[in-house]
């Protein structure tokens, strides 16, 4: 009952926001929701798969670039979005195959995903020359790929309708809620239970007849596809993609969102993203350098002081302060 009520509230809030917020805020919130999808993709593989991936930014970037390439060449943004998702999922599946089937350790996995991201950063940076183009789409090196088409509503037999900011907000908000609901169903369903078992005791689960490699691969590919979806939406939102999406900074940001919101809750990833991004905006984007220092410091402080996440720590503190009414027997003296 309460779960349905919460979903209804979430839908109502998304539906009502354009009436309350300024157009600028709507555009901002749209990109925050796109980032939330990216954070969600990390929480799925990290919080539920137990595998820390530093490569979510890579899938985001691949999703965005593929969206741009297909969008510019075909003119269809629906096709572009699907291709972006597929491209990111494909890369994740390929990486997952080599690492999970090679039984590479979890820390090596994290490092490998990071190196893939950094190398993509360098590779895309060297594509400034006009000969680096796919059809009509020039990759553009560090200057990035421009003129990426905005997301449009395409109904067969009619002219495509480019979404205005409020419509885009609804599409992104709807997709965020949909992905949230689907991933929740996934982790609560039988697949998710086996995943939880693998996380707790991989060998035991294997001896019960489950192939952990396959399940990790599927989870990682799904996670990659969600990040790819976010990347495609991002490219359609800003009409622009550049190699900075593959940077250390961007990769770390994804981890921070999830760490702030707390792992293994899904909604925490969304809350963390909204909190961190709103705060960054509020503090002003005076200089990327200051933000980098702040971000780095935040990462160190959170790890040292709140390893379970910031939002869960605050929740715990609030519960402890106001928690006299439902007494917890373990703590009551």
């Amino acid at each position: 009952m309460t779960a349905w009520a919460l979903w209804a509230v979430a839908v109502a809030v998304v539906a009502a926001l354009p009436a309350v917020l300024s157009p600028f805020q709507i555009v901002q919130l749209t990109v925050f929701m796109i980032y939330s999808l990216l954070a969600l993709s990390l929480d799925l593989i990290w919080g539920f798969g137990g595998i820390l991936s530093f490569g979510q930014a890579a899938f985001f970037g691949v999703g965005g670039y593929v969206y741009g390439i297909v969008g510019i060449n075909s003119g269809s943004t629906t096709l572009a979005l699907i291709a972006g998702v597929a491209g990111a999922a494909g890369l994740a599946a390929l990486l997952g195959y080599f690492t999970f089937y090679g039984r590479v350790g979890s820390m090596y996995f994290a490092v490998i995903t990071l190196t893939v991201t950094l190398i993509l950063h360098q590779v895309m940076g060297t594509t400034a020359d006009p000969r680096y183009a796919v059809g009509q789409a020039r990759l553009g090196g560090y200057n990035g790929m421009t003129n990426i088409p905005s997301l449009a509503l395409e109904v067969p037999g009619r002219a495509p309708l480019t979404l205005d900011p409020v419509q885009l907000f609804y599409v992104v908000g709807g997709l965020l809620l949909l992905v949230l609901a689907l991933t929740r169903a996934l982790v609560r369903g039988s697949f998710g239970r086996v995943l939880a078992a693998i996380r707790e005791d991989e060998l035991r689960t294997e001896l019960l007849g489950y192939d952990p490699r396959w399940r990790k691969l599927v989870t990682f590919a799904i996670s990659g596809s969600i990040a790819g979806l976010a990347g495609g939406l991002f490219a359609g939102w800003g009409n622009f993609m550049n190699p900075q999406v593959f940077s250390m900074f961007q990769s770390a940001l994804v981890v921070i969102w999830v760490m702030v919101g707390g792992r293994s809750t899904l909604y925490g990833a969304v809350v963390g993203t909204l909190v961190v991004q709103s705060l960054t905006n509020y503090l002003g984007t005076a200089s990327v350098t200051y933000t980098t220092v702040a971000l780095g410091t935040a990462l160190v402080v959170i790890v040292l002081l709140f390893p379970r996440g910031l939002v869960p720590a605050i929740e715990g503190a609030v519960r402890r302060v106001s928690g006299r009414r439902p007494p917890a027997p373990e703590f009551a003296r």
Binding site: Y108, M248, A252, V303
Partner: protein, 286 residues
């Protein structure tokens, strides 16, 4: 003939730089199991040390001598304030050192600005047929093998090395023997940092000095150490040779970027076949 000689020299040089830059990580990650994502920034701080020293009128050689001291001290401070709280929490260590990496890049950018500073490469050139070779790159190669030899000697033939290796194997045992494991960890971490500082310092005249200097190397050195596997120094060296070979051969055929891509792809496929790394394969059954 000259072409072959120069190409061979280029390959040896690539391999040597890989080993030189990866050694510090091999000690910190390979021996201590600490995945230090700020390792690249240790290189960067080493390079900036040389920059500052030369800007004050001293020679590059003085800078290269000072760099490991500065970065070793930095490593000491970081071990005491952050790393030591996180031993055994591998992923948390990664996250914290990642934060450290971002923080160091940001701070250095604030102080020195985001531009690339050059340091004049000493020693000049020699001519081989129609090619010109920098003598300094010969120095880099010699340096790489000297540092490798010194590190090997330190860990295999000195009391510190023996105690350090014993501590990594079994900290309880050595503390029963009256050694404080915390101090050994501290010393080893600082030593690994100093090696990185030295590597960054030696490379500074060739790469130029910029806050994001380490980014160009971090991927490579991690791949090298991971592919190297559990026999740290020999494994890292072998991985350096194999991966350096792949990288330079592909680079000669195309561009350095494809060289890096090929190296990464090669490493991932290699790990699929030898999940324990190259030296894990040797050790099977021992």
């Amino acid at each position: 003939m000259d072409f072959v000689a120069v190409t061979a020299f280029g390959i040896v040089y690539t391999i040597a730089t890989l080993i030189l830059l990866a050694l510090g990580l091999a000690v910190i990650f390979g021996m201590m199991g600490v995945i230090n994502l700020a390792q690249a920034e240790f290189l960067m701080v080493g390079a900036y040390t040389v920059l500052i020293v030369t800007a004050h009128g001293a020679s590059v050689w003085v800078g290269i001598a000072v760099a490991p001291v500065v970065v070793g001290l930095l490593g000491l401070v970081i071990e005491r304030t952050i790393i030591r709280f996180l031993y055994g929490r591998i992923l948390d260590t990664m996250l914290a050192t990642w934060g450290l990496s971002l923080g160091l890049v940001g701070l250095v950018t604030l102080v020195f600005g985001p531009t690339t500073e050059g340091i004049a490469t000493p020693l000049g050139h020699v001519t081989v047929g129609e090619y010109r070779l920098s003598v300094y790159s010969v120095f880099v190669i010699l340096m790489a093998f000297a540092v490798l030899g010194l590190t090997y000697g330190l860990f295999n033939y000195t009391r510190f090395g023996l105690v350090a290796r014993a501590t990594m194997q079994n900290p309880n045992m050595v503390s029963a023997l009256g050694v404080n494991p915390a101090r050994v960890y501290m010393g080893t971490f600082a030593f690994g940092a100093a090696l990185a500082g030295l590597g960054g310092g030696v490379m500074a005249p060739l790469t130029g000095v910029v806050p994001t200097l380490g980014l160009a190397f971090i991927a490579k050195i991690f791949i090298t150490v991971i592919v190297g596997g559990p026999v740290i120094l020999l494994g890292t060296t072998t991985a350096g040779v194999v991966l350096g070979l792949v990288e330079s051969l592909v680079s000669y055929g195309s561009t350095p970027i494809y060289g890096q891509v090929a190296m990464l792809a090669f490493a991932i496929i290699l790990l699929r076949l030898l999940p324990q790394g190259i030296s894990g394969f040797w050790r099977r059954g021992v």
